[in-house]
């Protein structure tokens, strides 16, 4: 006699069987999920550019490049799969599905489903990577969407997200979207071949593996970074690197040089003694008169406006006034009415 749990499993297995895609396992599945994600990233870039959010622009462009590359890879993978010989593996039978469901109960602490919502999910054990407890995750399969390239989500059950980034709950998980990496090809095959047990096991193995070379936020920064200027704890997204001394600082402590636009921490910034704008030291000149630093717009002939040139450096009216004037003939003021007569010109 079937237990109530077994009866429910059987009903679920029947529901899953009804929702299996009718197309052949070798049919090409367009990368709709990856295209949707690319579109969302493109909309963000457009929004950032429209509002001229200069700080957000490089981050949004980086994200666009990343999801674009992912889309290209998925298109290539789908194309390769289409070229492969027709998969002779038969579609999953009711028996296969039922055995998958029973095996999931042995593999995971908890298995749940909702036939109304058409979901089947498992709860994993707590995932601990490099000593950081990321909590349990729910791997939720939307079996009503089995024809899509990504019919599942991964939800943090006890979220311990990266510092300052609530959406990144695992180094390879953002917004409930798992980046499958090396698991992409076998996972896509398992989904298309309706091997539900393998789907959940594969996703669980990805969650339990850390790839430090390709993480949304590396675990070394999971709990934040310390700004070397103000000592505050900052998230990965708010961390900037000084282009002068290469230290890490927060957005509050960093400014750009007004001339060369390099990013500078508090210690590497300086101000023009006249206009007060921020510059790096390479873009300031010292006035020999006062020894203060000025930008190129506030210094002229090597001096600031408050430090004129020295006297012996003048070459203007004073020098002109000092030039010798040719002598005029002497007029004998005693003998009025008499004019000067050049020597030798007179007669007796």
């Amino acid at each position: 006699m079937l237990t109530s749990r077994r009866r429910e499993q059987l009903k679920l297995a029947l529901a899953l069987e009804r929702h299996l895609p009718t197309t052949s396992p070798s049919a090409v599945w367009p990368p709709d999920f990856y295209w949707d994600r690319f579109q969302a990233a493109a909309r963000r870039v457009n929004q950032v550019q429209r509002h001229q959010w200069k700080v957000a622009l490089p981050l949004s462009l980086e994200e666009l490049e990343r999801v674009g590359e992912s889309l290209v890879q998925q298109i290539r993978a789908v194309t390769e799969l289409a070229k492969a010989p027709l998969n002779r593996m038969p579609k999953a039978s009711l028996r296969d599905i039922l055995m998958d469901l029973q095996a999931l109960e042995d593999e995971f602490p908890e298995v749940r489903w909702d036939r109304r919502e058409r979901t089947l999910s498992v709860l994993t054990e707590a995932v601990v990577l490099k000593g950081i407890d990321l909590g349990r995750f729910e791997i939720l399969l939307e079996y009503g969407n089995l024809g899509r390239s990504r019919p599942y989500r991964v939800i943090a059950w006890d979220p311990n997200p990266a510092a300052g980034d609530e959406t990144t709950t695992h180094p390879h998980l953002r917004d409930e979207d798992l980046c499958e990496g090396d698991g992409r090809a076998p996972l896509q095959k398992a989904i298309r071949q309706e091997r539900f047990y393998d789907v959940f096991v594969l996703i669980n193995q990805i969650l339990n593996t850390y790839n430090k070379d390709s993480a949304y936020v590396p675990l070394s920064r999971w709990e934040g970074t310390t700004c070397e200027s103000c000592r505050a704890t900052i998230s990965d997204d708010d961390t900037l690197t000084c282009e002068e001394c290469h230290s890490e600082a927060c957005t509050e402590c960093c400014s750009s040089c007004s001339k060369c636009f390099r990013c500078l921490c508090d210690n590497c910034q300086d101000r023009c003694g006249s206009c007060g704008d921020t510059f790096c030291r390479n873009c300031l000149m010292a006035c020999p008169g006062c020894s203060d630093d000025f930008c190129s717009s506030c210094i002229e002939n090597g001096r600031c406006e408050d430090c004129p040139l020295e006297d012996d450096e003048e070459t203007t009216d004073e020098e002109i006034e000092a030039e010798p004037v040719p002598a005029e003939p002497e007029v004998q003021s005693v003998c009025l009415g008499q004019a000067f007569v050049p020597e030798g010109s007179g007669t007796d």
């Binding site: 994600r37 055995m99 390879h172 980046c179 090809a185 896509q188 393998d198 193995q205 850390y210």
Partner: protein
């Protein structure tokens, strides 16, 4: 004899294969993943963990899944 063999490593493989009668799980692993180490895989027969010396039967479903599968950032 005929079994269902699933290799979830690399690009993935899942199909029926012919194996000699009396082959053990360990023998199959050595034949199919000669450069792999069994301790780096979840080895299941009919979705259950097994010992390496288990003898395979006609119609068994054997799967090898790497324990380490690296994800990525998008």
């Amino acid at each position: 004899m005929r079994i269902m063999f699933i290799n979830n490593d690399g690009g993935g493989f899942a199909d029926h294969i012919e194996i000699p009668a009396g082959q053990t799980v360990q023998d199959l692993f050595a034949a199919r993943l000669p450069y792999g180490k069994p301790q780096n895989y979840l080895i299941r027969v009919n979705r259950q963990p097994v010992t390496p010396d288990q003898v395979l039967q006609e119609g068994d479903r054997v799967s090898f899944t790497p324990t380490k599968i690296e994800g990525a950032a998008a």
